[in-house]
């Protein structure tokens, strides 16, 4: 055992835990498929049923950034649901008696979230292009947009994990995390411009990280040279603020008895 350095050990622990999380999706592809089918349905609704072109010309160019955000945020909500399952079934306890860093388990969950969204973002992009979305930005702009979306997902993963750890209930996490996913996604500039919303709603929309990320992604994906620095900066600030609150809340609760 002495052949392991602490750092190498932690990395090995993390990779074992991430592999375990990812195997769940490999063995249960239906669970993963739902995460893509959900945004697909919204995509088809917005593109063909609601026909938003009446309100905004070329609506698909407007709402695709919102749809990307919706896809990563709902995908990340399931991270909390899976954590709640592990807490209530006792898996977390069985890991907590092992000689691994306590935060490794939460970190592994958050890494799994990024890995999952790395798969989901291009899939949603392909679906969007298939129904008429035009990618105008250069490859580097598109990659930057994807990175912002991953950061948004990472943020929401910590929100849903915090909910899971404090409620310790699968049902409560499912209800609350998915509700928040819908609220954050739709009460943002992702699907409609802020100025079209009632004035009492606008303050929330303006602080919502999804608004900033959607605006940045829109500029990056649908314009070749549009200014993006301001939107990227505000995205990163709003995401950081949420993480600074959520990570300590999750970690301190995880360190205590979860029974």
């Amino acid at each position: 055992m002495t052949m392991f350095t602490p750092v190498a050990r932690s990395i090995a622990d993390l990779s074992t835990l991430v592999r375990r999380n990812m195997l769940r999706y490999v063995r249960r592809p239906d669970v993963f498929a739902i995460l893509v089918i959900h945004p697909l349905i919204i995509l088809l609704l917005l593109r063909y049923v609601l026909g938003g072109e009446l309100l905004i010309p070329d609506y698909i160019q407007y709402f695709m950034p919102g749809l990307f955000a919706l896809a990563v945020v709902t995908g990340s909500a399931t991270i909390g649901i899976e954590l709640a399952e592990d807490v209530s079934s006792g898996v977390v306890d069985s890991l907590r008696v092992l000689p691994i860093t306590r935060s490794a388990f939460l970190a592994a969950r958050a890494i799994t979230d990024v890995a999952k969204n790395v798969l989901i973002i291009p899939l949603v992009g392909v679906l969007g292009v298939a129904v008429g979305f035009h990618l105008v930005g250069s490859p580097s702009r598109i990659i930057l947009a994807a990175v912002l979306l991953l950061a948004l997902g990472w943020m929401f993963a910590w929100i849903s994990m915090t909910i899971a750890l404090w409620t310790r209930s699968v049902d409560a996490t499912q209800g609350l995390a998915l509700m928040l996913a819908v609220v954050f996604s739709f009460v943002s500039s992702g699907f409609a411009p802020v100025y079209t919303m009632p004035s009492w709603l606008q303050p929330f929309v303006k602080v919502n990280p999804v608004t900033h990320v959607a605006s940045a992604v829109r500029a990056l994906m649908t314009t070749a040279h549009g200014p993006v620095a301001h939107n990227i900066l505000s995205s990163l600030i709003s995401i950081t603020v949420v993480l600074v609150i959520m990570i300590p809340l999750a970690v301190t609760r995880y360190a205590r008895d979860l029974r």
Binding site: M1, M3, F4, R27, R28, G90, D93, S94, V97, D257
Partner: protein, 322 residues
Amino acid sequence: MAGIECQDLRKAYGDVQALDGVSFASEAGKVLALLGPNGSGKTTTVRILTTLTTPDSGWARVADNDVVREAPHVREAIGLTAQETVIDKFLTGKEYMGGVAQLRHVPRGDRARETARLLTEFELDEVSRARVGSLSGGMRRRLDLAASLLGQPSVLFFDEPSTGLDPHSRKCLWDAIRRRADDGATVLLTTAYMEEADALSDLVVVLARGRVIATGTPTELKDDIDRRILALTLADPDQARKAAATTAALGLSSTAGDTPEALDVLMLRSGPPLLAILQRLEAEGVRVSDVIVRRPTLDEAFLQLLGQADPIREDKPQEASL
């Protein structure tokens, strides 16, 4: 000495005092059984000793480390089989064992050998490639037990390990536990059955309502609570009632037997001897048709111990009789 030692552990969950001053100690090579009914504090004790929760007061040391201040060191030394079997259903038995072996930091070169050895020991060779979700409850339980032994922990905890096992699997588990102790591990198991404590343990700690009500070797405990039961068969149910009244007058308690004519009288070591009881019955004109004197079963003895711990009857100074 890589053992277990705890002193005056107390733990409350809301209004429920789960542990109310629990102390005991065990050492390497010994099996200690925590014996008690549901809700007596067995699992809470195990959760404190395995660092899953912290006591409100009192202290505990496992493998020479404090379970609160030196919890990471404790985790290096322990293996736990929890009461509920939790294994990811989507993994195969071998994948699960491999993952736990890595997390327990078994050297890479030893993992395959150790996994194979444990799968064989728990008779899981044939099912190691099957998904856990397709295994029977007993097989999952054995896989869980096998995984808790990876890395050869020096202190082993089994919380109600034979729950859900058939007699053969239970025997297989008991042998495995004994072997670990013979190899020098400290073992703590919890059970609600005196029989299991008797078969496996070197030391029994009896818990009731969060307190230790008795401690000793299985033999000591049995001797300590060893009473004789005078099983009477009377001529008819009326005579049985009369016999109950007569023995009650002698200060002896009795319970109805298997038939209306039968009566089980609990004899006390400090009470009247057998001959005196029979003479009194004869003097009262009770017609006794058969007499058997037997020892209580282990479970009767256990229930009797618990009865003494029942707070309803605890008007005398607590633990005085033990």
